[in-house]
Structure formats: C-alpha cells, structure tokens
C-alpha cells in the first residue's frame, strides 16, 4: 500500500505491507532508527513517538494507519544546527540515560508531558513516565532530567 506521512516536518511516500508496524516503517523504510523497539507488544515504551500531537506506541500502530499523519520522532527534537532540545540537554546533564535504548521513548513521552503540564511534580513525572521501562538508570536521573527540563522551559517561555 502506498502511504504518505510527514515525519519531523518532512513528507515521505512509502509502499508498505499492511502488517508493517509504524515502528518498522520508520526504522526500515525511512532509515529513522532513532525510534527503538524493546518489546513489540506495547509494554516497554521504547518505541513511543508522537502522532498528530499525541504519544503512541509505534509498535502498536500499523504504518497504513499513519497515512496522512504528522509524526514527531527523536530525530526531530534537536534544532537543525544541532542545538539540543532542553529535554535532551537535561537528560545529558542529569544522567537520565545510560545505554540509550529506552531514551528516545523516554524523551518523546516527556515531551508530551511537558507540552501538557509545564510544572509537573516528581510524583506526576514518575506516574507519567511509568509506561516506559528503563533498565539502566534506576529512573532517578530520568525524573531529575524531566523536572529540570520543565524548569528550564518555564524560564525560556515565561507565562505571557
């Protein structure tokens, strides 16, 4: 099936089998391997991306369902000149990543959280990030990073 999708602002046309997951289409057909697969049954959260403004598991959506959709993946977070997004910056500073396998999903989940709640408490961060399994960090650095990025974003965009 021919589909078209917009990923990080760039329009793509691809031909996929109906059974191909959106995650596989991004990784294999578009070469966007930043979206990782950790379980392929919707539990670990590694493949979390943002589709039409909402976080989804890219392993639980078929590429054909994303026909016409606008998708954000980890590759689109940093600025074109390489400047890291405040979340990426905070994850580095707070050691919110080790092996990096869960990181893209963590970032995209956190991105949505901060888009909807500019000042989440640590408990809220823990609850919201609980759909993403990290095997390396013990989560302390991740919670620190999201909290710190939220503070930074509030500084950058003070309420009008």
């Amino acid at each position: 099936m021919q589909i078209s999708l917009t990923v990080n602002g760039e329009r793509h046309r691809v031909d996929v089998e109906p059974r191909r997951t959106l995650a596989d289409a991004l990784r294999e057909d578009l070469g966007l391997t930043g979206t990782h697969l950790g379980c392929e049954h919707g539990v670990c959260g590694a493949c979390t991306i943002v589709v039409d403004g909402r976080p989804v598991r890219a392993c639980l959506m078929f590429a054909v369902q994303a026909d016409g959709a606008s998708i954000a993946t980890v590759e689109g977070l940093a600025a074109d000149d390489g400047t890291l997004h405040p979340l990426q910056e905070a994850f580095s500073r707070c050691h919110g990543l080790q092996c990096g396998a869960c990181t893209p999903g963590m970032l995209m989940t956190a991105l949505h959280l901060l888009d909807t709640e500019p000042a989440p408490s640590r408990d809220r961060i823990r609850a919201e990030m609980a759909g993403n399994i990290c095997r390396c960090t013990g989560y302390v650095g991740i919670v620190d990073a999201v909290e710190s990025a939220a503070a930074r974003q509030r500084e950058l965009a003070p309420e009008a």
Partner: protein, 287 residues
C-alpha cells in the same frame, strides 16, 4: 514478533465496515485503537484474514449527555474519557487504563469488545448498568452490559457486528478502587461501586471470566450515620459479603485466597468512597 499477513480495509462507514466483516465470515477483525489486538497479532496468537480499520469512520467520536446518560461514540479514546467531566466515574476509571501512550489510541468500544475481565471499562459499564448499540448485517440492536460479557475475552457480539455507541448512565454516587502489581498494569482485582437513587451496585473485576456484579441490595444500606459519618461496619459487611461471593482462580499474581482478600479490600475502599469518605492509603513519612 511480526504480525502474520492480512488484508487491510479502511472502512468509510459503519455499513461498509459491517459488510466487509460479513464478507470475511469469521476471518475478519475490527481494528480500532489496536492496543489489545496488535500484541495478539504480533504474538501470532490470532491470524485474521481481514482487518477492518474503523478509525476513519465518521460519526463515531461523539461524546454527549442525553438525559441521565453519557453517550459515547465507539472511537472515543481513553484519554478523552479521562479528560471529560460529565461522567466522573468514567474519568477516574480511564485514568487507570495503561499509560498515556496507550490511552491516546485505545477506544471505549475496543476495550468493551475485547472484554478483558481485568479491564476497567467493562466493570464500569456493568456497574452503571449501561448498554452498547450494535450494528450488524441485519438490524442494529442494543445489548445491555449484563448480556454483553459472556466469558473471558468473549462477548455476545457476532463476527460481523460492531459496537457503534456506548450508553453509560451517570451515577448519583460512585467509588472506584483497583489493586495492580505496578503502576498502569491490568488490575489484579478492582471494584466499582455506584449509586443510582437508592440502589447501589458493586462490580468486581479480575475474579471471574466476566465482571462480577454483586447482587444489589433492595435499597441503599445505611452507609452514613445521621451525622453523615461513614458506617464502617456497614461498609465492611458489604465487603465481606462480596468477598464471600467470589470464586477467584489462582495465578501468577496471587492465590485465590489472596484475591478474595483483595476483593474485600477494594470493595471496602470503593464503597467507602461511594459513601463519601476518601480512603487514605499512604501513611506520612517522618521528617
């Protein structure tokens, strides 16, 4: 863990979806949110010949209160359920479904049609004595909650039928309690308590193949004293009776006896909440 091949049909309307399902015999499956279906396919535990994607069917995303009942289109997502304020019990229950990335895709009708006995929405439907509107090859029909769930992951729906709308009466009072192993997991045991007028209904999830309705008493028991305090002993009586009335199975996450104890506790919490007292289950940490 890659899905087996299937034909994909993007339905343009309910009639188109039903006709495609009908033509597929028992080889068709509706694809709505996909949050339960796709893992089953990835594990190759099912191999439908045709997936009928209803996500583009117009008119299935409405949400409105008519009379005392919330009417939900089949495609209303769990995130929307959690955000709406017209049915507070539904909002609370929806917040317990998985995680945000699951809730943003999962649909109300998909969850009911999947009929997982541990899932939140089937219990809520039964506790509210709700119903679903079903479209099929023949006439449309309305199926009440008590008739919809026939077994674990089994419903009364025919192969070519689909839920188009969910009717969920708004209760006068409610309580919701769930015990899960981890944040966002399916419940080990859950309880939903509702009050409509002077009748209360208590539904327990996770103790049988279908949500378990505790026989409602004839009238509201005296849950509150004249001064408005919760009658702990009355709540406990209901909880004890509920626990006695279930025959849970043992599994990885708990023995039958433990599930019965959990039943008593989640029912106690839900009924106490219904009666108006929030239960606190966190004890403060010393400074």
């Amino acid at each position: 863990m890659k899905c087996p091949p299937f034909d994909y049909h993007r339905a343009t309307g309910v009639a188109d979806a039903v006709a495609t399902l009908d033509a597929a015999g028992d080889e068709g499956k509706i694809l709505a949110g996909g949050q339960s279906l796709v893992p089953v396919l990835a594990l190759r535990m099912a191999r439908p010949a045709v997936l009928v994607d209803i996500n583009h069917v117009p008119g299935l995303s409405s949400l409105e209160v008519r009379g005392d009942t919330l009417h939900l289109g089949a495609l209303v997502r769990h995130l929307t359920l959690a955000e709406q304020d017209q049915h507070p019990l539904l909002a609370e229950a929806a917040r317990w479904i998985g995680h945000t990335a699951i809730r943003s895709r999962g649909t109300v009708a998909g969850s009911l049609a999947h009929a997982d006995p541990s899932a939140e929405l089937p219990s809520v439907l039964l506790a509210c004595d709700g119903a679903v509107q079903v479209a099929g090859p023949g006439a449309t029909r309305r199926v009440g909650a008590a008739d919809l769930f026939v077994g674990a992951l089994q419903t009364d729906l025919g192969d070519a039928e689909m839920i188009t709308e969910v009717e969920l009466p708004v209760p006068d009072g409610w309580g919701f309690s769930e015990f899960a192993r981890r944040h966002g997991d399916f419940a080990v045991v859950s309880a939903v308590a509702t009050r409509f007028g002077d009748r209360i209904r208590v539904v327990i999830g996770g103790v049988a193949g279908v949500p378990h309705l505790v026989s409602p008493p004839d009238s509201t028991p005296d849950l509150l004293t004249v001064s408005g305090a919760v009658q702990d002993d009355r709540v406990a009586e209901i909880a004890d009776a509920a626990a006695r009335g279930v025959e849970p199975a043992s599994d990885l996450h708990g023995s039958a006896d433990h599930r019965r104890a959990l039943t008593r506790e989640v029912v106690r919490r839900a009924v106490a909440q219904l009666a108006g007292t929030p239960t606190s289950d966190r004890t403060p940490v010393p400074a």
